[in-house]
């Protein structure tokens, strides 16, 4: 079974990060939401409507980029947009050309609009896929790994675009395995692991769940570790010339005084808030390896 018992609450106007390692069931969930595959049991609802039953009514309100960009390589970017827009019987043919031009403009592809998609780079295809979703005003955008294959510049542009769309009132649901992406653009996040939803909340909440850690940078690792252990610091770890651990409730200046008293040379000392990555590992019990 790929996914089991997912109930996502995506507030209107939010940028919702759908996070999980490769193989955790993100794309499967998205395919189900969009009516591309059927669940073996249970129901799927999208925007309050049953899927896939209500798909002809619901999907025009949803812009989707599923599982990487797919196009007719023998057609231009513009012709591809026209094709996908014409597949929706509720889209207006009279404004199609103009909407295509605007969508291409928004993703920065105006100059390549007449070029065959065969000649597009992966990054350009990714943008064109986003342009497909932007052909109409949508209530919800579902973007599956939208920055996949983009160079740093393209990644920044897409993230800025997502923020801008959210400001305009479109709810954005974006799956990713990049934590930095969630930290930068998302207001809310859900974490998938092995086909199950392990957590969903706002991004700040997700981060605040982990206690800050005391980090000491020193050449005297053995001595520092022994001292901190004696003072009651737990979960001590050593890496790259630092020792870190959970300082508990004691004020950290006391640790500094003790370390200096023990003649431990200190190059750096302070509290560090854990990154989302650590929160992620704590939640899923795994890194970015493919879940089994």
């Amino acid at each position: 079974m790929a996914v089991d018992g997912i109930d996502l609450e995506v507030p209107a106007g939010s940028v919702f990060g759908f996070l999980g390692p490769n193989g955790s069931g993100k794309t499967t969930t998205i395919r189900m939401l969009l009516g591309l595959i059927a669940p073996t049991a249970g129901e799927v609802e999208l925007l309050g409507e049953p899927m896939p039953k209500a798909q002809l009514a619901v999907l025009p309100r949803v812009g989707a980029l599923v599982e990487g960009p797919a196009f007719y390589p023998f057609w231009s970017g513009r012709a591809n947009l026209v094709r996908f827009d014409a597949a929706d019987r509720t889209s207006d043919p009279r404004t199609r050309k103009q909407r295509a031009a605007e969508a291409l403009e928004r993703v920065g592809l105006s100059a390549a609009a007449g070029k065959k998609v065969r000649a597009y780079s992966l990054g350009m295809r990714q943008r064109l896929a986003i342009a497909v979703a932007l052909m109409r005003r949508r209530d919800l955008l579902v973007l599956d790994e939208p920055t996949n294959g983009l160079d740093p510049q393209g990644t920044r542009e897409v993230r800025a675009l997502i923020r801008q769309l959210a400001e305009d009132g479109t709810t954005v649901f974006t799956s990713t395995h990049l934590l930095a992406e969630v930290e930068q653009v998302c207001t809310h996040a859900a974490v998938m692991s092995r086909g199950r939803l392990v957590r969903q909340s706002t991004v700040p909440e997700l981060r605040s769940e982990l206690r800050p850690r005391l980090v000491v940078r020193t050449p005297d690792l053995d001595q520092a570790e022994a001292t901190l252990a004696r003072l009651g610091v737990t979960e001590l770890r050593r890496q790259d010339g630092t020792v870190d651990g959970d300082p508990g409730e004691r004020p950290i200046e006391e640790y500094a005084a003790s370390l200096v008293g023990e003649r431990v040379r200190i190059h750096g000392f302070g509290l560090e808030r854990p990154s989302l990555e650590e929160a992620f590992v704590a939640l899923t019990g795994e890194g970015f390896d493919v879940a089994e």
């Binding site: 996914v3 089991d4 018992g5 997912i6 996502l8 609450e9 995506v10 507030p11 209107a12 106007g13 395919r31 939401l33 969009l34 009516g35 591309l36 595959i37 059927a38 669940p39 073996t40 049991a41 249970g42 129901e43 799927v44 609802e45 999208l46 925007l47 309050g48 798909q55 999907l59 025009p60 949803v62 989707a64 599923v66 599982e67 990487g68 797919a70 196009f71 007719y72 390589p73 023998f74 057609w75 026209v82 094709r83 996908f84 827009d85 014409a86 597949a87 929706d88 019987r89 509720t90 889209s91 207006d92 043919p93 404004t95 497909v132 109409r136 005003r137 209530d139 479109t170 709810t171």
Partner: protein, 297 residues
Amino acid sequence: MSRSEPAALDLPTEQPVEQPVVEEVRTRRYPLQLFRSELHLTFGRARIWMGLGVLAVVPIVIGVAIRLSGNSGGAEGFLGQVAGNGVFLVVAGLGLSMPFFLPTAVTVVSGESLAGEASLGTLRTVLTAPAGRSRLLAAKMVALAVFCVAATMTVWLSGLVAGVVLFPVGDVTTLSGTTVSLAEGLLRALGIAGLISASMLGLAAIGLFISSLTSTPLAAMAATFGGYVVLGILNSIPQIDVIHPWLLMNNWFSFADLMRDPPFWDNIGKNLALQGAYVVVFYAAAWARLTSRDISG
């Protein structure tokens, strides 16, 4: 763990997202634009025009060969009459294209129709547009039917042009020995093109069905053509003639009955009914397959 729970993505309704004029437009329907788009997809590719070009060459080659040899070499039927009357090049070209060239073209295009989109990945984008699976299948079938007509008419037109250029043209002698006017002869030849187009529909529906089974267009084409060859072989084995009336091509050559005076309709009717049956069965199978298929490619 034997069941998977609902996946729900709920937006609270008390927070309506601001919706400008677009909402109004959404109530309008343009149900035919997908059909137009499918036609564009079918004919908007260079390979289709190359294929039609090859079909157009068939009657030209026949015509030139007959012209160069100075006679029809004692050939029977329509071919034998080409040297005397160019109009027969239309009918002979259609007849000679029927067993191989037209089915090949139909096999390629129908095998490509769904499997091609599945292999490109565009199927999921089209379906989330949303096209609707039943509507998409209908549009594919209509586009295939239009292609059948286009392919047949290509041969018809090319045969007519080559016939007029290479041979004398005049009143048409029917298979019954009577003579009809040139205009009526051409009209009957047009009727033959219509019958041959219809004869390709059964094969197109088979191709569409096979195309719905796979994400590999080449496999769909090969399987469709293989099926066609097998049916053809079965149709040529006299020991099993009890099943012949049910085979796709059994009455294909009934189109010649349109050149009798008066036309003989029995076998033409049988052929049309059989093609209709093939279309119904395989279209229904393709529908059952597509509407239940997991699109995960």
